[in-house]
Symmetry: C2
Subunit: 458 residues, 2 copies
């Protein structure tokens, strides 16, 4: 299976997906290793994870190098690695209290009481995606391991170069023998994971989330799906335009827009529409491509060739239907085989255009004006899938009213696409993260545990 380099377009790497039989043999060995991992208890598991962190730090240069080739960008690679390191510490801190031994009485009456406790699934499968290849698997792998599971991980086949380095670090850790495995492969390997593990955790696109869900149903195992929606921002008449335009631009173009929760559509009150637009365009024009020098410029290449084609189709469709390009370009550039897309702002857009409804994964911000709150809500909620949303407004009462009416799983108030402060890392202001409550609090452990009940007669 050949792998494309996003900066050159050359297929300069190759992976060899393992067969069903080989992976099943691995899975059996991993279930054996899991038993001891569960028995050693949470403090030993935390210590082992911390040793892994040290091993990762020892190989930081190699990881950075591989991940930079995988993704074609540098700033985001560094911030992704910083985030992972901070996240490891944060999960370990949480785990000390979360996994305190003990049971919870969940029901009692005169005759009976019921106690509940949690157990790991044994072998968890984690399937990742190419937008933030390291981060999106690690923020699942760490809590899954802390919960006492063995973990089989399949990163995206578009960004597999970092796997070999991670394998090196795993081999340096005593308890990790057969406990954790990063495997190379594409959709077929993902399907195999659904067949041989006890629970599947997927991060990526809605299209693939649907496939993973069907596969986990076929194999009758539970699945946790985290998938991208068409992120929206609402900017009301009372919003701080200076702040809103900066936050939205950032949320639209960071990592070249290749993020599950990037803002991909903006609804602005008509009274401030032109003012907002001119600020957004002005700031957008200051950004440059990280080409030819990877160390200069903010916008790296598009990682997926298929996605570059889709972006061009969405742009052509929008322009054909009347959209006006006020910053950037109506087409991605091809530079020596790599696809680059300048931060692009569109106006005169409507919901007949694909770019307002379908996931873009590119640094494109279509801006539409609205008349009143009701219309803004109708537009934002005109989405098939759950999405993330930001609301910018001057008054708390206004933001809360809108936030509660949004059919969005997460609403951020007067901010967007938050930097990685949730993982306690204040060093880099460039890092970003899909803010999902289930990835930061104790819910991050819950999805890797199953409950068991004991019923006692008094």
């Amino acid at each position: 299976m050949k792998v494309r380099n996003p900066r050159t377009g050359i297929y300069d790497y190759e992976i060899s997906p393992l067969s069903f039989e080989t992976l099943q043999i691995k899975a059996n060995a991993m279930r054996q290793a899991q038993k001891n991992w569960q028995v050693i208890g949470i403090e030993q598991r935390i210590k082992t994870i911390q040793r892994w962190k040290k091993a990762l730090e020892r190989h930081l240069e190699e990881i950075t190098e591989a991940l930079t080739i995988d993704t074609g960008r540098k700033i985001e690679t560094e911030s992704e690695i910083n985030l992972v390191m901070a996240a490891i510490d944060q999960f370990c801190d949480l785990a000390h209290t979360y996994f305190k031994p003990g049971v919870q009485t969940i029901f009692h009456n005169n005759t009976y009481h019921i106690e509940e406790f949690s157990e790991p699934f044994e072998l968890v499968g984690i399937i990742g995606t190419w937008q933030f290849p390291l981060q999106n698997v690690f923020i699942q792998v760490i809590p899954a391991l802390l919960a006492g599971n063995a973990v089989m991980v399949k990163p995206s086949e578009k960004t597999p170069r970092f796997i070999k380095v991670i394998e090196k670090t795993i081999n340096e850790i005593l308890h990790f023998n057969n406990l954790i495995d990063f495997v190379e492969g594409g959709k077929e390997t993902g399907e195999i994971l659904c067949a041989i593990t006890d629970s599947i955790c997927y991060t990526g696109s809605e299209v693939n989330a649907r496939k993973v869900y069907e596969s986990s149903a076929k194999h009758f195992i539970p699945s946790t799906l985290s998938f991208a929606g068409k992120g929206a921002a609402i900017v009301t008449e009372t919003a701080d335009i200076e702040h809103a335009s900066s936050a939205i631009l950032w949320a639209g173009v960071f990592n070249a827009g290749q993020s599950a929760d990037a803002i991909e559509r903006v609804y602005v009150h008509r009274n401030i529409h032109s003012q907002f637009l001119s600020r957004l365009v002005g700031k957008s024009n200051l950004l440059t491509l990280a080409y030819p020098n990877i160390n200069h410029g903010e916008i790296g290449p598009l990682i997926s060739e298929k996605q570059a084609t889709l972006i061009n189709e969405q742009l052509a469709d929008a322009v054909k239907k009347g959209a006006v390009v006020v910053a950037g370009a109506a087409k991605c550039l091809v530079q020596k085989g790599g696809y680059y897309c300048r931060p692009t702002i569109l106006t005169n857009v409507n919901h007949q255009m694909k770019i307002m409804k379908e996931k873009t994964y590119g640094p494109i911000l279509p801006v539409k004006s609205f008349l009143n709150e009701a219309q803004a809500l109708d537009l934002a909620n005109d989405s098939i899938s759950p999405f993330t949303c930001s609301v910018f407004a001057g008054k708390d009462s206004e933001t809360m009213k809108i936030a509660h009416k949004l059919k969005s799983k997460t609403v951020t108030i007067n901010d967007a696409y938050l930097e990685n402060r949730f993982y306690g890392n204040q060093k880099s202001s460039n890092t970003s993260l899909e803010i999902k409550a289930e990835n930061i609090g104790t819910d991050s452990f819950k999805k890797f545990l199953k409950n068991k009940n004991l019923i006692f007669r008094k």
Copy 2:
């Protein structure tokens, strides 16, 4: 669609499943009605549910009559209705505190905090089964409604006669117009529910749970599946034989064994095997068929003809492979078209027999002796699906050691197939219930709610 009468074998009833289009129109109307139901708040919802309880009480005779024809048995019908009435009160009591307005802060640091609150799904689909047709839908319908959802319910096509009476009671409640609908139909209607609702809650067999899971994956909606396992009991050398034999017999034959969590296999320490068996056989021989008089005798007819055929196949397979029938008979009787199965005890059984591995849904108790704890655990855990288990032993340390090693979701200590004390109803000692923690505590609400997060910058 014709419906069989379990006592006569005659197809004396008919249901007319609605088309996809008709159900979709209903679903749209229900989503409209849900909005107001959510807005009126929890106290109004509780009051409305209590009014429904009064309406159900007014029609108690009709409900009992219809459900008795549906299932062919009487004692269990009455206890099922008692349980539902008690459950309504219990859910309402829990709801007062559970739905207190307010949000929960789930994460905070120097810069941000995240608040989480719960929202109903809007339209929930509930699919029921034929073993306890009223109970298994009501213990889902009530919490789903209290959580603020509209609810479309499809009871089993094998036991649909009670639907018409429930419809009458629904029509008597002001707020229930378009909010709750009991629909008639089989598998096709169940599939439609997966296509038109926002979340599916299924109770029934593993075979059908797999189908519902695949269907909910196809339509990309969440599902909660509660399905039957091959319930097991372990009786150690130190157990109270008198108590264990009574509890296990009860858990094996109540409702003619037609229950998700019935005990369907017993493992007894070899030192007490013959003593236990003789007590079990003695008590079993005291039980009689509720035939010809429905008011006398403990064991009613088998509700499903298909299941009667399967039971006979399992019995024939077991006898062919060496099982010995020490009480009851190796074949279900047919009495004027109804299938009746006497409480049947088998010995000399092994795990090559279907009756030790496949769900029976009949009053059959195969008893196998074991040498030591390790062997007992191996036998009990030799099951593909999660199952319920009872452990009988004289010492707490012994029971807990076994309980923790069982791959069973629920373990009951020194008891089995508990009576309905969990719903606070002490009147009838005959009623029973699948004890699942998610059906009695606050988890009963959780599965009908989705979380929403608000992120604030400080």
